[in-house]
């Protein structure tokens, strides 16, 4: 049974529509990550699931029960906030016990649950401290501990790592992954704008943009078979190169002519009616290789070389209108600015999108 079901969920603040009908089923025990650019509505959607934000339209159920009008505390959820949201005047112990005390749980049970959560998160030595005496990572662990103590069916994370520095972010990310492994039956919904967090943590990623779902799927599916230009450009870093092209041959596989006259065969089928139409041809920087022979994809002048050690980023001018094509080549290369180079790519890793930005791939 689905742990969380969203049916045509809408949100509007007065006249301003923020979410335009979200349909989503989240299975029990699934780790789902909402990603999208700022203002896409991902945090709003999470807050609607938590009950902190009211639902303008549609139906939301958690564990089979319609929760549109159920207060947050009765939804069986727990939330971890970006800013930790610890009660500054309570000790770590009291922070974790607060919810259970409100619910009038018995003292031994409270103590048992707090200590077990503290144990999982290595917080036992800090139980008597106030939040201000803890580091950022420890504070976020307390916030997670407080969530664990609620014993929720659904865990909600609202950008929990954004306030941490880079090293702590990686460490806490791994801790969250471990936590998920330790609680296989608990559903987790996680909001982030960081695609590394999304790719590494998620069972499924939900890509949102401007109040719509663009695509839902496992991380690698989104990477390998993006449904549209938005997802193609959003997942992966640096973003996929997009080159305007025209369909010249249709059928089992499609031939497009890039700017500058070069023709490329892409192994995706198109209908005959597509012939002559404008399309977007896409290839990821890491799928490009330096071509040695005459069989190459495109040719251009190198404008910038960024040597990062493990990889070298080459900015190639001359194909797309305003932005350079980026190639990500492993290792350290002896390439100078101004050099003319040829690049090729595995045909299976080429992408083709129609004029509306939808993929031709079935």
């Amino acid at each position: 049974m689905a742990a969380v079901t969203l049916k045509d969920i809408r949100k509007a603040y007065g006249q301003v529509k923020v979410l335009h009908g979200i349909d989503l089923d989240i299975a029990q025990g699934e780790f789902v990550v909402f990603v999208g650019p700022s203002g896409c509505g991902k945090s709003t959607l999470l807050r609607m699931i938590s009950g902190l934000e009211s639902i303008t339209g549609g139906e939301m159920s958690i564990d089979g029960q319609l929760v549109n009008d159920v207060p947050p505390s009765r939804r069986g959820i727990a939330m971890v906030f970006q800013s930790y949201a610890l009660y500054p005047h309570y000790t770590v112990y009291d922070n974790m016990a607060f919810g259970m005390r409100i619910a009038k749980e018995n003292k031994d049970e409270i103590d048992r649950r707090v200590r077990s959560a503290a144990n999982i998160l290595q917080l036992t030595p800090y139980l008597d401290r106030l939040p201000k005496a803890l580091s950022g990572g420890q504070r976020q662990r307390v916030a997670i501990g407080r969530a664990i103590c609620r014993n929720p069916k659904v865990f909600l994370f609202d950008e929990p790592l954004s306030n941490l520095d880079a090293a702590l972010r990686v460490a806490t990310r791994i801790e969250i992954a471990k936590l998920k492994e330790a609680m296989p039956d608990t559903t987790m919904i996680y909001v982030t704008h960081d695609q590394v967090e999304a790719m590494t943590l998620a069972d499924r990623i939900v890509v949102l943009s401007a109040g719509h779902i663009e695509q839902v799927g496992p991380p690698l599916e989104l990477y390998e078979r993006p449904k549209n230009l938005f997802v193609a450009r959003f997942i992966g870093s640096p973003a996929m190169n997009i080159i305007p092209a025209t369909v010249s041959e249709t059928g089992e596989s499609t031939t497009v002519s890039l700017k500058g006259g070069k023709s490329v065969r892409v192994p995706v089928p198109t209908a005959a009616s597509e012939k002559g139409k404008t399309t977007s041809f896409g290839v990821r920087p890491e799928d490009l290789t330096i071509a040695t022979g005459e069989d190459y994809l495109f040719e251009g002048t190198i404008s910038i070389v960024e040597a990062l050690g493990e990889v070298t980023l080459l900015y190639v001018e001359g194909l797309a209108e305003n932005e350079p094509i980026i190639a990500k080549i492993p290792g350290i290369l002896d390439i100078r600015k101004g050099q003319t180079m040829r690049f090729s790519a595995d045909p299976k890793k080429l992408h083709l999108f129609d004029a509306e930005g939808k993929t031709y791939r079935i």
């Binding site: 938590s50 902190l52 505390s73 009765r74 727990a78 800013s83 949201a85 005047h89 607060f98 409100i102």
Partner: protein, 337 residues
């Protein structure tokens, strides 16, 4: 009229100019006394350090001088006066203090002051807090806040005059023009002379100060409430706390420092309460407070500077520790940790 305004503006400009001139001249003098030669680095750095040490004292000098003349000297003089008789010429030892302990009116004043202390700061803080919380939730909150704050702009004497009309009593068959009495008669009760009702009249006077000071408490507490991170309240909502629990267990503890500052600030004000009592009852009908008693003994009827000085010192002794604590607390609130 025009000349007065011109004079006032002239004085203001001249005053500011004189201050600026003082700072400029004193700094110039400092530079002359401790020169910084180009060719001798040792002397230069030594003299720069000396300048840095002397400069704050030079700049603070005039203010410190005024503080000594108008604050320190009167305190010392009052202390000395308290050991002298009514004319201030014959030393009488501790007899003024002995008098105070036995005097019925002095005891009455102490009792009334304690009553004021118990009621007014608590009531102002409580109402201020409640209004601050409630006005945050309604669209006309800011209008309500301005209305509550407005009495702060009225002087104590002015406010007392306004409330005199509310408590006004007309004898015989005259129409009751006082607001309170007209309500009472309209409800079928008998009009009362409110400000002479024993014990109760103290509370009627306190209401005036509460009316004035609630706005102050509200503004400060409202700012503090806005400083509470919204997420802590949302976290409490998810934890299942109701409005009452969120208020007492999450919000109030987070602004406890500010509540204490507001409370003590009003406490200090209450210890010095004077104008309201003077205007409303002049201390009659058992409403006397220390400040009025001091005033009476010094300037009216009493004519005894010794006894008056004793009362003044007692007020100061009561205010000082609260003041010290208050300033420390306020510094901690604003100065971070």
């Amino acid at each position: 009229m025009v000349t007065q305004i011109a004079t006032a503006i002239g004085v203001m400009v001249a005053g500011v100019f004189a201050c600026a001139l003082y700072y400029w001249l004193s700094d110039k003098t400092l530079q002359l006394v401790f020169p910084v030669p180009d060719d001798n680095v040792r002397t230069a750095s030594r003299n720069l350090n000396r300048r840095a040490v002397v400069r704050p004292w030079l700049f603070l000098g005039p203010a410190l001088l005024l503080l000594v003349v108008y604050l320190v000297y009167p305190v010392v003089a009052t202390f000395i006066l308290s050991f002298y008789d009514r004319s201030g010429t014959n030393f009488v030892g501790l007899s003024n203090y002995a008098w105070a302990v036995q005097d019925a009116q002095f005891r009455q004043s102490i009792f009334n002051n304690i009553l004021w202390l118990a009621v007014v700061p608590a009531a102002c803080t409580f109402f201020g807090l409640v209004i601050a919380v409630l006005t945050d939730r309604i669209w006309w909150g800011n209008i309500a806040k301005s209305l509550v704050f407005m009495p702060m702009a009225i002087s104590f004497v002015g406010a007392s005059v306004i409330w005199k009309f509310i408590y006004e009593y007309r004898g015989g068959t005259e129409t009751q023009i006082g607001l309170l009495n007209s309500i009472v008669t309209w409800l079928g009760g008998n009009p009362q002379v409110w400000i002479s009702l024993p014990l109760w009249n103290n509370f009627f006077l306190m209401i005036i100060l509460i009316w004035i000071q609630t706005g102050f408490a509200m503004v400060i507490l409202s700012a503090a409430l806005r400083g509470i991170p919204e997420e802590t309240i949302e976290a409490a909502v998810i934890d299942g706390a109701n409005g009452w629990q969120i208020f007492w267990k999450i919000m109030v503890p987070q602004i406890w420092g500010t509540i204490a500052v507001v409370w003590t600030t009003i406490t200090i004000l209450v210890l010095k309460v004077f104008d309201i009592v003077l205007t409303m009852t002049n201390g009659q009908w058992n409403t006397m407070v220390l400040a009025n008693l001091m005033f009476d003994w010094m300037f009216r009827g009493g004519g005894d500077s010794g006894r008056s000085a004793v009362i003044a010192l007692i007020i100061m002794a009561a205010v000082t520790p609260i003041m010290v604590w208050n300033i420390r607390q306020a510094n901690r609130e604003t100065g971070g940790h």
